[in-house]
């Protein structure tokens, strides 16, 4: 187990700068998720930690020891790849014991470590099989087994669930989380799926364009996004955001007056008004809207409503009696209104 620290990490491929000085400290035993859209540099950052990419600038330390110039194998890390990267010509057992075999460990030690990992992951029955004989979920478990066998200081996951179907992804999500709670190994997990990030992380670093936009616990990011990017990236369905003019206790936008609490901006300032779908109530008075689409999901119902020229999403618990074309009124909950500077995107 170990802490990981990135300080002012920079990365360029030729003249293209992909990371602009990332600093991030990961505590011992923490489950850190790096999340962001594709091309934001999250995988590059992970691969630099793994020793698969050179470091252009800055320092990476594992357990206080700078690893910039260490080979992957000397960093005491294990990585799970999106494509599983199992050796096709080796059995499950051989795959899991490969790293120990390279270190010329004793056969009985390899056997016991592999058996132990297989027991944790429920792979005992598959040890003699080849990767091609396994399902996607089983392969991913073998890849995790290969990581566990090494008993590394840090686990690295590079979008490990992206190749699985939706149902299996949910199951594996829980499995990885349970594994972490059991082993308590420091984990860095890269994903583009904000649901994965929210459900698994101790802390999330939201990345965009080679920078960390916000670092925090999942609900902290959800409740108090630091800027427009985080606000729109975290949460599903996404937050409703539209531009308006700040008046003293309301925002003038989409031809309506949207309530806000407290003085958070100068009168006449251009702001972005953000409200999550579940924080808009249907009411007898408020902002007039027209229902466009009703999507019943069972436990809740998603409504697409039109205000002015914008379509907004809102979620209501239970069933909705409204149908397309009907008129209703929206009442945003004051305490959940987010305001952002229209120019910089920063939270107000």
């Amino acid at each position: 187990m170990a802490s990981v620290s990135f300080s002012s990490i920079k990365k360029s491929f030729g003249s293209t700068k992909v990371l602009h000085g990332i600093s991030l400290d990961i505590a011992d035993g923490e489950f850190m998720v790096l999340v962001g859209p594709s091309g934001c540099g999250k995988s590059t950052l992970l691969r630099m930690l793994a020793g698969l990419e050179d470091i252009t600038g800055g320092e990476i330390a594992i357990d206080g020891r700078v690893v910039n110039d260490l080979d992957s194998k000397d960093r005491d890390i294990a990585m799970v790849f999106q494509s599983y990267a199992l050796y096709p010509h080796l059995t499950v057992g051989e795959n899991m014991g490969f790293s120990l075999r390279l270190r010329s460990e004793r056969k009985d030690l390899i056997q016991s470590r592999v058996d132990n990992a297989a027991k944790i992951l429920n792979l005992q029955a598959l040890l003699q099989r080849y990767p091609r004989e396994l399902s996607g979920g089983q392969r991913q478990r073998v890849a995790m087994g290969r990581a566990i066998v090494r008993d590394p200081k840090v686990f690295l996951f590079d979008e490990p669930l992206s190749n699985l179907d939706a149902k299996l992804r949910v199951a594996m999500r829980a499995e990885i989380k349970a594994l972490h709670q059991r082993l308590k190994t420091t984990t860095v997990y890269v994903t583009h799926d904000q649901v994965e990030a929210m459900t698994m992380a101790d802390r999330i670093a939201v990345m965009n364009d080679g920078r960390i936009e916000q670092l925090g616990e999942p609900l902290e990011l959800y409740d108090r996004p630091a800027n427009l990017f985080v606000a729109q990236f975290i949460g599903s369905p996404a937050m409703n955001v539209f531009e308006g003019l700040y008046r003293n206790n309301f925002i003038e936008a989409l031809g309506a007056a949207w309530p806000v609490s407290g003085a958070r901006a100068a009168a006449g300032q251009r702001v972005q008004y953000g409200i999550r779908p579940e924080h808009i109530d249907l009411a007898a008075t408020g902002v007039a809207a027209e229902v466009v689409v009703v999507e019943p999901m069972g436990a809740e119902t998603e409504l697409l409503v039109k205000v002015g020229d914008r379509t907004l999403t809102l979620t209501t618990h239970g069933r909705s009696s409204l149908g397309p074309g009907e008129r209703t009124f929206l009442a945003p909950r004051l305490e959940h209104v987010h305001l952002f500077d229209a120019a910089t995107g920063a939270r107000l």
Binding site: A50, G51, L52, D71, S72, K73, I77, A78, M79, F81, S83, A85, L86, Y87, P88, H89, F98, S99, L102, R103, R146, R150
Partner: protein, 280 residues
Amino acid sequence: MTSRKLLSEAKLWLVAIPVLLWTLIPIYHIFLFSISTKDSAFSGRLWPKEPTLRNFGTVFRQEHFYLHHFWNQIWNSLWIAVAAGVITLAVATCAAFAISRLRVKGGRTVMNAALFTYFIPAAFLAVPMYKAMGTYGLLNSRWSLVLAMVTIASPYAIWVLKQASDKLPWELDEAARIDGATPLQLFRLVYLPLMLPSLVAIFTYALLLTWNEYLYAFLLLSHENTIPLAVGLGHFLSSDDSPWEILMATALIYGLPPAAIYYAFRRYMVGGLTAGAVKS
């Protein structure tokens, strides 16, 4: 079967039958000669009146003037072909691994240079090659032909193996590196086992190329004891009255090993030389 399907099947047969005949008639011709007596060889019949296996006996017992070194020469053929196959394989595998997986600098240049060598016909290089072998005192040594054939076979072998290597998922190398593999361990424990089909294909390719080589063998080797059987067969034609039936019996024997090798490794030949051509 629909008429459309029938039509396309018929078209296929229309092509296949001439191709099959084209291939089989010469072989049948060789076979026919080899089981005929000297007198009936040119009788023009489709099957000899008195088929005989005596010609093969003559060959195996080296009972003809041109066949006094038959066993020696077939051993030369085998020795040279296997040596050229092994060395080509070693050279090409290391080159492909270094260029494709270790991504050494200048790899592209090597690949282009390898391709470029095929702009020059092999016959064009025969004289310089002869000169070079002479300089190193290798003329009339089996090694001269081995080295010449390695030179000729390697570029294609490197090219094919490099293409096949590129198809291996890059993550496997990364996983192995994280697992603690040195480049040599990566080569031995991951690369070689996964490349096996292509390696067999390339070994077979170099082996057959060398087994069938005539020009360089004729040029570089001249002693009865060092020449491969291909050159030995050529000697049959040096007299006005060639013993065709014995020549053909020898040719048939000479043609069997490559056929057997190809048959044994056909799975790898098709799989290896077209590896990754389609999405698996």
